[in-house]
């Protein structure tokens, strides 16, 4: 039974407790969200006011060849990373979960380590590994193609190699989630399957795969959202080139805003990415709910 006095006190405490977060959230998140939407309907430069131009930025985007290229490259990059990294993470997780004790901890540490590195450290190391003159991987590339390749300056190699670097960097996260998923599968299911004479192959497809699916779906959608936000690696390794072959949406947003001084147009580009990712997140949420209900 709450007296009105106690209820008032509770409200006051609640207000004091949410106030700091609410202030930060409103000032540095909600307000920028509002202003990026508002800016996208103007011809504003990066700093300063612009005029209301309605949907002009969006109609311009529809016909912008570079934007089409960017969208395509984002899509291509998603193809190159999302499913491969999920498969690799699953294989690694299956292998690691078979190991015991300290050996398991050691192997997991090695696979996870790249994930904690800053992106520019990752790109520096890989730029050196793939260096045209002295790169340790160039003999390998030469063995396949017959000659060394300056991979980040080559229109065909650039995206696949950025994908390789990205998978190396971020895969540890997926491995962890997969291992957690594998641990949550009850051991007696495997025992029952073994008693029924199921082979390892059958055990995987009949027990592991369906029970792991919620986690697999989570990894797939998280990766999809993450990889759509590609910018750092491209900026650092190829700067969008050669011939715009690695130009992506956030790269275009960056150039339009900070180099060409087109704040309004850059905001419209940001909004397209925004919408893409919100739609995907809603789908992910629904997918997980369905997965959870089973």
């Amino acid at each position: 039974m709450l007296t009105p006095k106690r209820r008032r006190r509770e409200r006051r405490a609640a207000f004091l407790m949410i106030a700091p977060f609410l202030f930060i959230f409103t000032a540095f998140f909600l307000y920028p969200t509002y202003s990026v939407i508002a800016l996208s309907f103007t011809d504003a430069p990066l700093i300063g006011d612009g005029n209301w131009v309605g949907l002009a930025n969006y109609t311009k985007l529809l016909g912008d060849r570079l934007f089409h290229t960017s969208l395509w490259n984002n899509f291509y990059f998603v193809l190159l990373t999302v499913i491969p990294t999920t498969v690799i993470a699953l294989l690694i997780a299956l292998a690691v979960s078979k190991l015991k004790g300290r050996m398991q901890a050691l192997v997991l540490t090695l696979f996870f380590l790249p994930y904690v590195l800053p992106v520019s450290v990752v790109t520096m190391i890989w730029a050196w590994m793939l260096d045209f003159q002295f790169g340790i991987l160039q003999p390998l590339i030469a063995a396949v193609t017959g000659k060394p390749v300056p991979v980040f300056k080559n229109p065909y190699w650039v995206m696949p190699m950025i994908a390789v670097v990205t998978v190396w960097w971020t895969n540890g996260f997926n491995v962890l989630l997969m291992i957690a998923g594998l641990r949550n599968i009850p051991a007696d299911l495997y025992e029952a399957a073994a008693l029924d004479g199921a082979t390892a192959w059958q055990r995987f497809w009949r027990v592991t795969w369906p029970l792991l699916w919620p986690v697999t779906a989570l990894v797939l959608t998280l990766q999809l959202i993450l990889q759509l936000k590609l910018f750092d690696q491209v900026y650092l390794l190829s700067n969008g080139g050669p011939f715009n072959r690695s130009y992506v949406v956030l790269m275009q947003m960056y150039r339009e805003a900070f180099q060409l001084n087109h704040g309004g147009y850059a905001s419209a580009i940001a909004m397209v990415l925004f919408l893409f990712i919100v739609v995907l997140s809603v789908l992910q949420f629904q997918l997980l709910r369905l997965g959870g209900r089973k």
């Binding site: 006190r9 609640a14 949410i18 700091p20 977060f21 609410l22 930060i24 959230f25 000032a27 540095f28 998140f29 920028p32 969200t33 202003s35 990026v36 800016l39 700093i47 690694i92 690691v96 050996m103 901890a105 192997v107 540490t109 090695l110 996870f112 380590l113 790249p114 904690v116 590195l117 800053p118 520019s120 450290v121 520096m124 190391i125 050196w128 590994m129 002295f134 340790i136 190396w168 996260f173 962890l176 989630l177 957690a180 998923g181 641990r183 986690v215 989570l218 759509l228 910018f231 956030l250 947003m253 805003a257 704040g263 905001s267 940001a270 909004m271 990415l273 925004f274 990712i277 809603v282």
Partner: protein, 275 residues
């Protein structure tokens, strides 16, 4: 040795080799960083650590702004971590334990903000920081990184799980809500607090895109942005580049190795998966 043992051993060996290959780029960076530049240019880097030449490390520490960038990274990441955790735990406590108008709405907004791709806000956040005169300052780096909804969601889950009876003792002693949070709910959740602190710190430390936009003066750069400047300044200098990369990575690598369990726990919890 039975056949089964032999197979287990062979399997373990294979996985270990795969893990070693996976980590090879880091080893390669290490061997390169410990060679003289001349030797790298004449016969490339080597597989073995047969030379321990710390010249590259000395030069980086002496002739670059790395120490300054360390300061900026440590300072901004620490401030971000403290503010995110304190504001997050208070907000989560209110959402979890208190009744007030707009509670459901606030929770929905927090969960919903998960979906917003933060880089899409960078143009507007930059304009805001510019209006506030915070470009090229620590606060310019810090402020837009203070919204981390996952911290609130995780704290709320953990606060929800604490039995209500435990509150009574504190309430009978005349303790208010702040006492409850800091004397009861927080001490019961030091583990998760440590995990959230580590993951917040690492992601602030590793953020490249935002500090890259808001800082243009070399003296204010954080590690991930600063080291790309050296890249441009040195030209061809393989040993020095790798020494730089390793020095930049050292704090997170050491931090990860020391707090390994907490890091993996935090990663799993923040993705909504129980380990």
């Amino acid at each position: 040795m039975t056949l089964k043992q032999a197979r287990t051993l062979a399997f373990t060996g294979l996985v270990l080799i795969a893990a070693a290959i996976w980590t090879f780029p880091l080893y390669w960076a290490l061997t390169t960083s410990l060679r003289s530049e001349n030797r790298i240019v004449s016969d490339g880097s080597g597989w073995l650590l047969d030379e321990l030449n710390f010249g590259a490390f000395r030069e980086i520490l002496g002739n670059s702004k790395l120490p300054m960038w360390y300061m900026n990274s440590v300072g901004t990441s620490l401030i971000i971590t403290v503010i995110v955790l304190v504001t997050g735990m208070m907000c989560a406590y209110a959402l979890s334990q208190l009744r007030f108008p707009g509670r459901r709405l606030l929770y929905l907004v927090v969960v919903g903000s998960f979906m917003v791709p933060v880089p899409a806000l960078y143009v507007a956040q930059f304009v805001l920081m510019n209006d506030l005169g915070l470009v090229n300052t620590w606060w310019g780096i810090i402020l837009p990184q203070l919204v981390v909804p996952v911290v609130i969601i995780v704290y709320k889950q953990f606060f929800d799980a604490i039995p209500k009876e435990m509150r009574e003792a504190v309430v009978l002693d005349g303790g208010g809500e702040f006492t409850l949070l800091f004397k009861l709910y927080l001490p019961l959740n030091w583990g998760i607090t440590a995990a959230l602190a580590i993951i917040t710190f690492i992601s602030a430390w590793n953020n490249f895109f935002w500090p890259f936009l808001v800082v243009t003066s070399e003296d204010m750069m954080t590690i991930p942005v600063g080291i790309t400047q050296v890249n441009d300044a040195f030209g061809v200098a393989y040993a020095r580049m790798m020494a730089l990369a390793l020095l930049a990575a050292a704090p997170v690598i050491i931090g990860y190795l020391v707090f390994q369990k907490r890091v993996t726990e935090a990663v799993m919890i923040s993705a909504g998966v129980k380990g």
